[in-house]
């Protein structure tokens, strides 16, 4: 591709290298010029406001002393700093608007979980109208239950805790391995299992619904957690089956029927009744989310992408999976982001001094846990246009309440569950993983693929050779970057960056835009 140079000088300091030392906390805040530094500082205070609000909630103090993972939340502001590194103007505002709302959403979940937790807040009324759900699942089957709280218990214990502190999962991985689960499985469900084995999940809910989400490991880990819920706490669980070969027409009825069963289970257990009016309101919001996301992707396919990186992915993840149209506040956040994206595009806003390569990020991604995607731009001028997890729902679902649409709705919910983030590429046959990558490259005008090779992900590594051969046939630069998701003992942050550095130097024969950040002392940084 032709190199695009940024005609504008970046305000404030020119390199982020000075921010890092070997500690958990950075040396100082980034100087982005007066306007952006003040804006960023204001948002930093806003994040602290959210945290203070959580700490005022019922059960917070008890939870703080009971749960190992709670201490991580003191580092939330550092996580936000990680995602805004090097950003200015609209880019900074887009990231803050998105990630700050994600923080608010997660804080709401943490607050709710602690309030209803038998060992912390013990709010029985809340617990009785709570359904414990998988963190990595599309919560479509909750769209018609406006009075129920969907508690994603694993979000605060694993997913968001790991975004904040990369080492948060290590203890639980060790617990799971001591129980007998081998070290070669994906550490994500292994951590979830470890948390459950150690009895470190909030105990909340009248019942629980589990889904076979992204992989065999995730499906199998559910059994360990369900046993804890059922045998120790008397919380009945329902296993919702989402077909593996979900692209085939001949599995859709099976999936829709199981959605019906899940809804009936929740009704039986909680006494709540399915509300079609609310369902279709949620469906409208899901469609709105899809329209907006596709428009952002359209802009990212131009020479001036605007909403990219880990936050693009995290925002989509939160918006679709945990929310799934249920939160009426998301459309206004979408709208704010859309205005900023359009403004940035009109101004030809760039995020680095130079764009050299247009890159699609594929595979099972650890880029939430550090600032890799922003670093790629700043260090090598490689723009991450989109990522596998953000290439999610494409189709609109029925959103008008008619008798026909009420039947269609079960198929739509099945469609959402089958196509949940990550699962829609790790399952569904090679077409979903391989062919859709090349389609994505064409659509986004990419010349490079950064392929996160999660060594514990069998669905991905099982296609290793095919990725290589097909990338070669298409003339696309394919950079393998291996990692072990939430276990940084296997691949440190620098070991991950080194793989990218080596490819850029030895295969592409390029020099970095900013050599001072090729190696960063951030292995322990929050």
């Amino acid at each position: 591709m032709d190199v695009i140079k940024n005609p504008n000088k970046i305000a404030g300091e020119q390199s982020i290298a000075a921010l890092y030392n070997d500690g958990k906390v950075r040396k100082r805040r980034e100087w982005r010029g007066l306007k952006d530094t003040m804006y960023d500082f204001g948002r930093w205070l806003h994040i602290w406001g959210i945290l203070v609000n959580v700490s005022m909630g019922r059960g917070f103090i008890k939870g703080l002393f009971r749960y190992r993972w709670m201490a991580n939340y003191l580092a939330v502001p550092h996580m936000v700093d990680k995602f805004t590194v090097g950003q200015r103007d609209e880019t900074l505002k887009i990231t803050h608007t998105a990630i700050d709302y994600v923080v608010y959403e997660v804080a709401t979940i943490v607050k709710g979980c602690l309030r209803g937790d038998r060992f912390a807040g013990n709010d029985k009324k809340l617990s009785d109208r709570t359904v414990a759900v998988d963190e990595n699942a599309m919560t479509a089957y909750m769209m018609g239950f406006p009075t129920l709280f969907a508690a994603q218990r694993e979000v605060p214990t694993l997913f968001s805790a790991n975004l904040i502190n990369q080492y948060s999962a290590v203890h639980y991985i060790d617990v799971a391995q001591a129980f007998g689960i081998p070290g070669d499985v994906c550490p994500m469900p292994e951590t979830e299992a470890g948390v459950s084995i150690e009895d470190d999940l909030c105990v909340i809910g009248k019942c629980a619904v589990q889904v076979n989400t992204t992989c065999d490991g995730s499906m199998m880990g559910n059994g360990i957690m369900a046993r804890r819920l059922e045998e120790d706490y008397g919380i009945p669980t329902f296993q919702l089956a989402a077909p593996i070969r979900f692209k085939s027409e001949d599995v859709q009825k099976y999936a829709a029927e199981d959605i019906k069963k899940a809804i009936a289970f929740i009704e039986d257990q909680t006494g709540a009744k399915w509300d079609w009016k609310h369902y279709f309101e949620c469906a409208k919001r899901v469609n709105n989310t899809t329209r907006n996301r596709l428009e952002w992707l359209d802009i990212n396919s131009t020479p001036y992408p605007q909403f990219v990186g880990a936050v693009f992915c995290l925002y989509n993840d939160t918006n679709y999976m945990g929310n799934c149209g249920r939160n009426p506040e998301f459309p206004s956040i979408d709208e704010k982001i859309m205005k900023l994206v359009q403004k940035g595009y009109q101004n030809k806003q760039m995020m680095a001094p130079e764009y050299r390569h247009r890159c699609v990020v594929w595979g099972v991604e650890p880029h939430f846990v550090f600032d890799m995607l922003y670093w790629m731009m700043l260090c090598w001028g490689v723009v991450p246009l989109t990522d596998m997890l953000s290439m999610v729902i494409k189709d609109q679902i029925a959103d008008e309440d008619t008798p026909e649409n009420r039947e269609q709705a079960y198929y739509d919910m099945a469609y959402l569950v089958e196509n949940m983030i990550m699962r829609n590429h790790t399952h569904g046959g090679y077409e979903a993983l391989l062919d859709e990558l090349w389609e994505c490259c064409d659509k986004m005008n990419a010349d490079m693929v950064m392929l996160w090779e999660h060594i514990g992900c069998k669905a991905l590594t099982g296609m290793h050779g095919m990725f290589e051969e097909q990338a070669r046939e298409r003339g696309i630069h394919l950079v393998w970057v291996s990692h072990d998701l939430c276990d940084p003992r296997i691949y440190t942050r620098q070991a991950i960056r080194d793989q990218f550095n080596q490819y850029m130097r030895t295969v592409m024969r390029e020099e970095p835009l900013d050599p001072s950040i090729e190696v960063l002392p951030d292995s322990y940084a929050w």
Binding site: T237, K458, G462
Partner: protein
């Protein structure tokens, strides 16, 4: 004991994938339906005019090419099968039926398909990937019926003119049940206090029923059963009776290794084993044969991919029931290295069988070909047997068993 008359014959059949019986069936004009995974309803592959062969890769050595395609962190069974197919070892097959039993077997089949590693020079060759239910319920039965029609019966009929009628399926089930009956009758001798068949011998016979045309085995299996009825067992020489549970295992060498340490493998609850793989399928006049076959596979399945909690609990209960029925002193959970479903099932199953049912349990992972790490495995099994013996000496033996 005197050697079984046909043991050598059966052992020889298992030395290569394209064995003499496959050649014989092919020369009779029958089509070979290759398949992967125990979740494939076998009788549907043994309709008149075709025969099913579950793929395996005996004598596997290097897996370098498959490792390039699938990395070194994938299940060795899958890599061995891919390697063998790339080598051309499965070119006798006329189609490949691949249920999505687990992610890795799915990727294995997809690599074979993308590389066109099977079906060379056969214009009618087809690959079919099918969904298999994740739960044991009637919704799952309905799904499996549809999947079998779309991905087994219709393609067989359209490509090879195979008769897929109700009568043909009933006939295939009769053949299947006949083989199952023979294997189970032979296997029942393992319940004896002083058994007249070794676990290794039984593993050879059972494996043959998966990888050879069934109808060509009946004579020799029948003869073996008759021979066993009068076979004089040795004096009881076994140190402990073990129930082997676990993932895909098509290597009788593993059973041999266990028995070389002084144990007796009294029951086999693994893929390619007889429990429940060689349970008869019950047909009734009230239901079509296809639905009955699918109902059997959905409800009798002991694969950890079935995730409803009733099944999760009942799998352990099933192990307990088998251990009692076959008089096991201990349980050996084995998992092919890098298998995710069995990694979790092994951990949870070991914990429950120890804590709830009070059995001594050994949990191991193993390579595809046991010869590649026989020493380590032997040491672990020996230590396990010694621990059982010590418990017996201390009067704490026969945990949970009568």
């Amino acid at each position: 004991m005197r050697d079984l008359k046909h043991l050598y014959y059966f052992e020889n059949l298992l030395q290569i994938t394209n064995n003499d019986l496959i050649s014989q069936a092919k020369s009779e004009g029958k089509k070979c339906v290759a398949y992967l995974c125990e979740n494939t309803p076998e009788p549907l592959l043994n309709l008149a005019g075709c025969f099913g062969v579950r793929l395996f890769a005996p004598q596997t050595g290097s897996m370098d090419i498959a490792t390039y395609y699938m990395t070194s962190l994938l299940c060795e069974t899958c890599r061995a099968l891919l390697e063998r197919s790339i080598e051309g070892g499965f070119n006798f097959a006329d189609c490949l039926i691949a249920p999505d039993g687990c992610t890795m077997i799915n990727r294995c089949a997809e690599n074979i398909e993308l590389l066109r590693a099977m079906g060379k020079d056969n214009d009618h060759f087809f690959y079919e990937h099918m969904e298999v239910p994740l739960k044991a319920d009637d919704n799952g039965v309905e799904l499996l019926v549809l999947q079998c029609k779309n991905h087994i019966l219709n393609p067989l009929h359209e490509n090879y003119g195979i008769d897929v009628s109700e009568a043909a399926i009933r006939e295939a089930v009769t053949l299947h049940n006949k083989v199952c009956r023979l294997i189970r009758e032979i296997g029942d001798f393992r319940k004896e206090a002083n058994p007249r068949i070794t676990g290794y011998e039984f593993a050879i016979l059972t494996l043959a029923t998966y990888v050879c045309p069934k109808y060509l085995l009946i004579d020799k299996l029948t003869e073996t059963l008759e021979e066993l009825k009068t076979r004089e067992p040795d004096e009881n020489k076994y140190r402990a009776r073990l129930l082997v549970v676990g993932s895909e295992m098509d290597d009788p060498g593993f059973i041999k290794l266990i028995e070389e340490t002084g144990a007796y493998v009294c029951a086999d609850r693994y893929c390619f084993g007889s429990l429940p793989g060689r349970d008869e399928i019950k047909l009734s006049d009230d239901e079509d044969a296809l639905t009955s076959v699918c109902r059997h596979y959905v409800y009798e399945c002991q694969c950890p991919r079935q995730m409803n909690m009733d099944k999760v609990y009942s799998r352990k209960q099933y192990i307990n029931d088998l251990a009692r029925e076959y008089g096991a002193d201990g349980i050996l959970y084995n998992q092919i290295k890098f298998c995710d479903p069995w990694a979790y099932e092994k951990a949870l199953g070991s914990a429950i069988l120890r804590e709830k049912y009070d059995y001594p349990v050994l949990a191991v992972d193993r390579p595809y070909n046991i010869n590649s790490s026989a020493g380590q495995m032997r040491t672990r099994v020996q230590a396990f047997i010694e621990s059982i013996e010590i418990k017996n000496i201390q009067g704490r033996g026969k945990h949970g068993c009568d």
